[in-house]
Structures are given as C-alpha cells and as structure tokens.
C-alpha cells in the first residue's frame, strides 16, 4: 500500500472493524470526500475486446487502447449494458454517481471485495434506471487507493453484495426504499 491514508480512510477502516460508530457529522464528511474523488484520473486500463469496436472520442477503439477508468466504466455499463437511461453522457454518468453518494436515502456500508476494504453505496436507481438496470445502483470506493473502483447497476440488484467475493459487510446506513404506488 503506497498511498498514505487520509483521516477519512481511517474513519472508514475503524467503522469497518466495528471499533467506531461514525457520528452523523463524521459520516457526512466521509461522504462528501468520497463524492469528490471520482475515478483515478491518472490510471489507464486497456479497452480490451469487450469495448473494442465502440466509437469513442472520434475514433474506433482497439482492444489495446488505453482508457481512463471513468471512460471504460461508462462505455461498458452505460453504453454496452444500458444500465443508465439512453442518452446518458459521460458527464451525466459521473454526476449521477456523485448524486447517489450524496443522497441521504442511499445505503452506505463497509465491505471487503476480494480482500480489499471499500466503502460501498447502494441506492435505488429511480430516474437513473436504464433498460439494462435491475433497479439498484452500486458504487465502490477503495480505501487504500482513495478513488472509486466502480459504479454500476448490478443484475442482482440489492442482492449483489450477498454474492461470492463480498465479505465483511457492515451497514453504516441502510438504504431508504421508495414508496411504491
């Protein structure tokens, strides 16, 4: 782990370990920071075959083309999988993630995924529901990296975090369910 953890990261880890319950003000501070950090702007990942062939930023993507994580996640989850509404731009996608993180009805939990500590956010998709959505939106912020790992609308919906690979789930705040007509 090369990055020095912030005070927010330490709060998250303490909450994850169950050694500290975050006060409302502390949770708000954590949420506001996580909403700001976004995907790592300095990282690049290969597009790979699943993204290759898409037209992006004026060119047809090749499998070996490097992409910022934000672009890659957008292309796969919004365009290829249709998890967000038609016409959602990259900026719309990123803004929607921030809105979900900041939304007081969003559930917040600490977790490990494949051993890595993260802070997770789960909220009903609502106006962010696309044709490929199953009604819930999930965001992961990885503590040791200090950036979002992913944001998508899982096929399993709320049950995604019960699937293999997920562990040590600890809810800091449960999601609020909308009233159904």
């Amino acid at each position: 782990m090369g990055r020095q953890l912030s005070s927010v990261d330490h709060l998250i880890l303490q909450a994850a370990a169950g050694t500290r319950s975050l006060a409302e003000e502390e949770l708000r501070h954590v949420v506001e920071l996580v909403a700001r950090v976004g995907f790592d702007p300095l990282a690049h990942e290969q597009a790979r075959g699943r993204i290759a062939g898409l037209r992006w930023r004026g060119r047809i993507l090749a499998a070996k083309d490097p992409l910022p994580p934000a672009d890659k996640h957008y292309l796969w989850h919004v365009l290829a999988n249709g998890e967000w509404p038609d016409g959602t731009s990259l900026d719309d996608y990123l803004d929607s993630i921030r809105r979900v993180i900041l939304d007081p009805t969003t559930g917040i939990f600490t977790n490990r995924y494949q051993g890595e500590w993260s802070l997770g956010f789960l909220r009903e998709s609502r106006d962010l529901e696309g044709p490929g959505s199953r009604g819930w939106l999930l965001v992961q912020y990885r503590v040791s990296r200090g950036h979002w790992t992913t944001a998508f609308q899982p096929f399993q919906g709320l049950s995604e975090i019960s699937q293999p690979g997920w562990s040590d789930i600890r809810w800091l705040r449960r999601p609020t369910h909308s009233e159904r007509p």
Binding site: D40, A43, E45, Q46, R48, G49, R50, I51, A52, G53, L54, R55, W56, A63, P69, H73, L75, W76, L79, A80, N81, G82, G87, Y113, Q114, E116, G130, P131, G132, Q140, R142, S144, R145, H147, T149, T150, F152, P154, F155, Q156, E160, Q163, P164, G165
Partner: protein, 102 residues
C-alpha cells in the same frame, strides 16, 4: 462483437455481454498479475455481474423460456465456461452458478 456507440444504439443482450467477457478472459488472465488492484477488482465485479446474468439465462433454459436458437447459444456459453473453470478459479472469479457443482 461489440456494437458501435451511436446515439440511437441499443444495449447489448446478456448473451452478447457474457460472450464478450468470456472472450476477454484469457487475455485478462495472462495480464492479471500486472493489472492494478482497481482494474482487477472492477473486472472481477463485472465478471460476477455477467455470471449473474448467466444464472438468469439458466433459469429460463430450465423452464423452457428460451427459444431454440437461444438455448443453443446458452449451451455454447456454458460449455465454454466449463472449459475455462481452471482460469476462473485461478483468478478467484465468481463461478457461474450453473457450474457451481462442477
């Protein structure tokens, strides 16, 4: 084959997205140790998501809700995944539920 990102594009089907991830698996596996932790985690989550879709297709196949051509496509995916189980397990990826007992 990935679709073009046109303004009016239609999202890919589950068959297509599962096949795309599966096709990338050998390449990802060979690069795995060199990938960043974030990329490994994100790819694992995306893989798991596709395996959830496969489980749904499996339920439809078992209850006769797939067309004959879709049933053949499903069977092809399952066969290919079964052959890829050593890679899936080596990378610690989510096993397709239809093959959990394999």
């Amino acid at each position: 084959m990935a679709a073009t990102a046109d303004a009016q594009r239609t999202p890919l089907t589950s068959f297509e997205t599962i096949a795309l991830m599966l096709r990338d698996l050998p390449d990802v596996a060979s690069d795995w140790d060199a990938l960043s932790v974030d990329e490994r985690l994100a790819w694992s989550l995306d893989w798991g998501n596709e395996m959830s879709k496969l489980g749904d297709l499996g339920s439809k196949a078992a209850t006769g809700r797939l067309s004959m051509s879709d049933h053949e496509r499903y069977h092809h995916l399952v066969t290919t995944l079964a052959e890829a189980l050593p890679i899936i397990d080596r990378l610690g990826l989510r096993r397709p539920s239809v093959l959990v007992q394999a």
